[in-house]
């Protein structure tokens, strides 16, 4: 598998085409808007919490490259049902892998399918794309 094929795995293209969690909700929720200044890509993301405080769902809207769309979709899939602490741990783990320039593979146990984004970390210019939703989630949590 070439680097490019590894970057754009079927799983990622599928998520970018039929994204999970797409569509904001009317309910009140912690929300964050993030923007990638180079390309103008944006995301608005909500963290909806269940009665016990855990993450019920992540809902988002935005436009961007396959990486950023797939990443938001994968995050939203991953987040469902996690405690806030758990989600924060996973965001930190994802960030560490992304910033590693290909040296640290994403932890599949913690990140599930989102580990498929591991190929991005070799492309420094694309790390922002993959991180956009995760930064938005972190920011939304910080606000709640």
């Amino acid at each position: 598998m070439s680097d490019l094929q590894n970057l754009y795995q079927e799983l990622i293209l599928d998520h970018s085409r039929t994204p999970h969690g797409f569509g904001l909700r009317g309910e009140i929720a912690a929300q964050s808007h993030q923007l990638n200044p180079t390309c103008g890509d944006e995301i608005t993301l909500q963290v909806h919490r269940a009665a016990d405080g855990s993450v019920e769902a992540i809902a988002w809207e935005g436009h961007g490259c396959a990486i950023s769309q797939a990443s938001a979709s994968l995050l939203s899939e991953l987040a469902e049902g996690l405690t806030v602490d758990d989600l924060e741990t996973r965001i930190a783990s994802f960030r560490e892998a992304m910033r590693s320039r290909g040296k640290i593979l994403p932890d599949e146990e913690l990140l599930g399918d989102a580990a498929a984004l591991g190929g991005v970390s070799k492309y420094v210019a694309r790390v922002k794309c993959a991180m956009l939703a995760w930064v938005a989630a972190e920011d939304a949590l910080a606000k709640s």
Binding site: S2, D3, L4, L7, Y8, E10, L13, D14, R17, T38, C39, G40, D41, H63, G64, C65, A66, I67, Y123, R126, C129
Partner: protein
């Protein structure tokens, strides 16, 4: 516009390419196909050597020293100014060095703003703005030729008007004729669009500005490197360019300003080498261009830019223009022929340079660019510092291929084939 001039031959281009060390590189296992000269161009040995030679034999402060090195450096520095002045049809003292085109536009905007705050005495009356005055720019501009005017308007109370684009992306000259009125003091627009590649009809806008006595600033960033440019023939008051887009180094640009205007304008940056007498309470300023060149100048960069301009002149700007016009036409044609590809401004009936931006239905420009990069093809993706233009065309970003004198036919073929390949790659399994 370049009808009878012969474009460069393949053999000539190959000879020129040997002058550019970076063009011999490999990227991701492929020979580099550099189609991002619209963002920044590459430097030939002549430019690299001129700068190194200067730094190794006579590097020294200019206009400040009297020792031998300083005198030699000052001479070369002023010769460089004369070379760039000749290249754009200006007089030596009408060229001011800046860091880049962005700073050149900011220089004009801040000098006007200083004048509007009362600096510069009676002479500066010519460039003063008052509440109610208007500045006109266009929806096609690079952010560098838009935001400085927004900020100038905010500082002075003047109003900024923006000439809209039609659905193809062309300037609405009919609306421009309405927007440019007796209240208009400045009309700022780009010679060549950095997204559409079209060469705007400068004369049409100059006529409108002249009729109401407004000043004209031309953004020549994308024209000076690619076309013969004559600021006097175009009859503009200011023009700006960036060295790094015309084979020169980063960190240097130039402002052309009509002598009488530069003379009327108060300084922008202040400090050493732009003064006559300084007391603790006030300073008197030198005439232009020194008035606008505060502090130690970009000496080796100016000398390198002059070497770049000499290199371009030797090849011939008319032949470079012809070479690139052919590529512009092929890019528009070749890319438009691909199903799902929309070339921005393809429908505009104006001459163009060797630059085309395109949108691929359902595939983001970042992904297209990544696919091309994997083939060693360097293009620009994103909004190219022109968000309003993209918004007008209903998109947020695009993929841009831009050429220069060192571009080959094979590279044009490669980027067109690459765009088609990207579609196959990203549509697989869908």
């Amino acid at each position: 516009m370049t009808g009878s001039i012969a474009p460069l031959t393949e053999a000539e281009v190959q000879r020129l390419r040997a002058d550019f060390p970076i063009l011999q590189s490999e990227v991701n296992g492929h020979p580099l196909a550099y189609l991002d000269s619209g963002a920044t161009s590459q430097r030939p040995f002549a430019v690299l050597d001129a700068e190194r030679e200067f730094a190794s034999t006579m590097n020294s402060a200019v206009h400040r020293g009297a020792h031998t090195l300083a005198a030699e450096a000052t001479e070369l520095f002023e010769d460089a100014r004369a070379t760039v002045a000749r290249f754009v049809g200006a007089s030596d003292d009408e060229i001011v060095w800046t860091s880049n085109a962005t700073e050149a536009i900011n220089l004009v905007a801040y000098s006007i703003s200083n004048a509007s705050l009362g600096r510069g005495g009676a002479a500066a009356e010519r460039v003063r703005l008052r509440a109610g005055d208007e500045i006109v720019t266009t929806e096609m501009e690079h952010h560098a030729n838009l935001i400085p005017w927004q900020e100038l308007a905010a500082r002075t109370g003047a109003t900024l008007k923006v000439v809209p684009l039609d659905d193809d992306g062309a300037l609405r000259l009919d609306v421009a004729a309405e927007l440019i009125t007796e209240r208009t003091r400045i009309v700022a627009f780009t010679h060549v669009s950095n997204v559409l590649g079209v060469i705007n009809p400068v004369d049409r806008l100059v006529v409108l500005a002249r009729a109401v006595g407004a000043l004209v600033l031309l953004d020549a960033c994308q024209s000076a490197p690619h076309l013969p440019l004559d600021v006097k023939a175009l009859d503009v008051d200011f023009a700006v360019l960036s060295g790094h887009k015309m084979l020169g180094p980063t960190g240097i640009g130039a402002l052309y300003g009509r002598r009488e205007l530069l003379e009327a304008m108060p300084p922008f940056l202040t400090g050493g080498s732009m003064i006559t007498t300084v007391t603790t309470t006030e300073a008197e300023y030198l005439p232009p261009p020194q008035r606008f060149e505060a502090g130690t100048q970009r000496v080796s960069q100016a000398i390198a830019l002059a070497a770049a301009v000499d290199y371009l002149s030797e090849v011939g700007m008319d032949r470079i223009a012809a070479h690139e016009a052919a590529f512009g036409a092929r890019l528009v044609e070749g890319l438009s022929a691909i199903e799902g590809v929309r070339v921005l401004g393809a429908g505009i009936d104006l001459p163009r340079v060797g630059l085309a931006s395109f949108d691929v239905a359902g595939i983001h420009s970042h992904d297209v660019g990544q696919y091309l990069d994997d083939l060693g093809i360097a293009v620009r993706v994103g909004h190219h510092c022109a968000q309003p233009l993209h918004r007008r065309l209903g998109i947020t970003s695009s993929t841009r291929a831009s050429t220069y004198l060192y571009t080959t036919d094979a590279e044009i073929d490669a980027v067109i084939a690459g765009a088609a390949g990207a579609i196959d790659f990203f549509r697989r399994g869908a």
